[in-house]
Symmetry: C2
Subunit: 344 residues, 2 copies
């Protein structure tokens, strides 16, 4: 289909002919292998440069089995998940890092827990490494990928499985700091309205919350944790109960911005003022967080850094070099109107 302009169709043998050597020598030169004289090497490099020769990745792929390709796997149809705006940012950073390293990115979709198609594509396309930005820690795909020896990196989940790398945000500290913020602004009755227990990020946030509460001792009057889905309406319903019940909290730390939005809705409909009567925080810094009333204090993930780190981790794994296989990156608290200005 694609018409390659004739004169651009240089092959390695053409270069070899121009340099008066064999194709093998050109190949060795390009790959920096030994067995080529200094003088010959320079001459070949000169000619390559001059003619802007580029190796055909397909041919190389066929003979080496490597492809200079990274795959990123997304769940299909899981719209609630894929739509999460962290992905564009992640993809951008990944793509950037990949391009810089001469890799291309293949976008795979995983239909309904069926690992087969993804594994298949990885093998047949000779994908060098795989990023799983949305796989649960128990996803069978992980085992299958490591089974075939594919370097794999998880994003947003932690695992102890051998041969799998991961990079995650420091949910623990972030939740701790938010809780700390509540206490520092005089909130002593706290609720953590967390996301589902099966989401590992939520477990970590829970840990951070409780660690801060424990450490605060008498500074906190009451503290409890409630789980809801990542859903504004469900959060509203739950928050209505919490905010109208006995021992009304003065600070609600939420497991996501969507949940926080629900809490603020509930507060408004009960006539409570945010943050005066009840302070609220979210997680993720979704675009609407800057547009709620009041604007939402939340946590921003270092998406750029996560993407870059995942790519670099994969490169290290591909080349077999030593590298950190587990990375936790710190987050940033975005202070807005749903928490009181720090007092004193």
């Amino acid at each position: 289909m694609i018409n390659v302009k004739k004169e651009g169709k240089l092959t390695i043998r053409d270069i070899a002919a121009l340099a008066g050597v064999s194709a093998g020598t050109v190949s060795r030169t390009m790959n920096g292998q030994a067995g080529v004289g200094q003088e010959t090497r320079l001459r070949i490099q000169q000619i390559i440069e001059e003619h802007r020769f580029q190796v055909d990745p397909t041919a190389r792929m066929l003979s080496t089995g490597r492809s200079q390709t990274l795959a990123v796997v997304f769940p299909l149809h899981a719209s609630e998940v894929v739509m999460h705006p962290i992905y564009p940012a992640l993809l951008g950073a990944l793509g950037d890092a990949a391009e810089r390293a001469g890799y291309d990115i293949l976008l795979l979709t995983q239909s309904a827990e069926k690992a087969a198609h993804v594994v298949d594509t990885v093998v047949r396309r000779r994908v060098d490494g795989v990023v799983l930005p949305a796989a649960g820690p128990r996803d069978p795909l992980i085992k299958e990928l490591t089974g075939i020896g594919a370097p794999t990196v998880l994003i947003g989940h932690r695992t102890n499985r051998e041969g799998v790398g991961w990079v995650d945000s420091d949910h623990d500290s972030a939740a701790h700091d938010l809780t700390r913020l509540m206490l520092d602004t005089g909130r002593r009755e706290l609720v953590l309205l967390n996301g589902p227990a099966h989401v590992s990020a939520c477990k970590l946030r829970s840990a951070g919350f409780w660690k801060c509460v424990k450490a605060a001792g008498d500074a906190v009057t009451s503290a409890r944790e409630v789980r809801v889905p990542f859903d504004t309406d469900a959060a509203t319903a739950e928050a209505l109960k919490i905010l109208s019940g006995p021992s009304r909290p003065t600070g609600v730390v939420c497991g996501s911005d969507t949940i926080a939005a629900g809490v603020m809705d509930a507060a408004h409909s009960l006539g409570l003022r945010v943050p005066d009567d009840v302070a609220v925080t979210g997680f993720d810094d979704r675009s609407f967080a800057a547009r709620t009333t009041p604007t939402l204090t939340t946590v921003r993930m270092p998406l750029d850094e996560i993407g870059r780190t995942a790519a670099q981790m994969l490169f290290a794994m591909i080349s077999g070099g030593p590298a950190p296989r587990k990375v936790i990156l710190s987050t940033e608290i975005i202070l807005r109107g749903s928490t009181p200005a720090r007092e004193l």
Copy 2:
């Protein structure tokens, strides 16, 4: 790197041996070409099925020059653009359609107007077709891609250039309908606070707005159009002038949700009630549109359908068949609180 399990490593020659024919015959069978006897064909298909043989796309790629790959090109670093949440949805639909057709998707990033790298990758990777979801109509990349004969589909921009397909939302009608909505709810003093003039979608929205205004005749008391960047703060500044000036509009149709958010901010700070004093509409149905105060009436693009259509268009172009090369898909108005409930 990837260890293929040995027994899975069937080649076309293995199949040929099993069927007692030559590799060429197997190849012809798989590609449905003539020159194979009915009986032989069935036997070969049987064996292929039985051993779950799959062709090696890399090898095929090398010899045919086709790759069963579609590329999607995103601008790099243009964060404001890439972050736009339409992309995840688009990618999802594209990936879905591609997978169904046995294609994979390559994600390319276009660094700063440099078409070279993208074109290079398209040629070297034998990409069969390219989707440009974020290229301006004058992007040099378009010419370069058609120059090498690569089937190309634009999303969100229309062009008359030969050999380029496009699919876009019906911005014209959407703007028309929003304007109509204003009139139907008794708003006679209108402003279109549109996005930058160089964005083709904005031109179309402008056309739709004016068409409705013209058709309405005396039903509209005043109407004008102002351009601002897609930026909430800039929109707020402009809206402050518009709303506090003489002949205050009672309806503001905005070129994007971000602009609409700015207008609502301005209205609030002037003590104007939305929608009672001034009705506001947006465009895009960004996630925050459901969370502003009041919630924002806006337009939802048929992202799924756009993605699907783009993929199908590419397939048609690849196979050289006839197909619509220009598709306009209709949008959906999401009625929320920033416009009055339809009266009467």
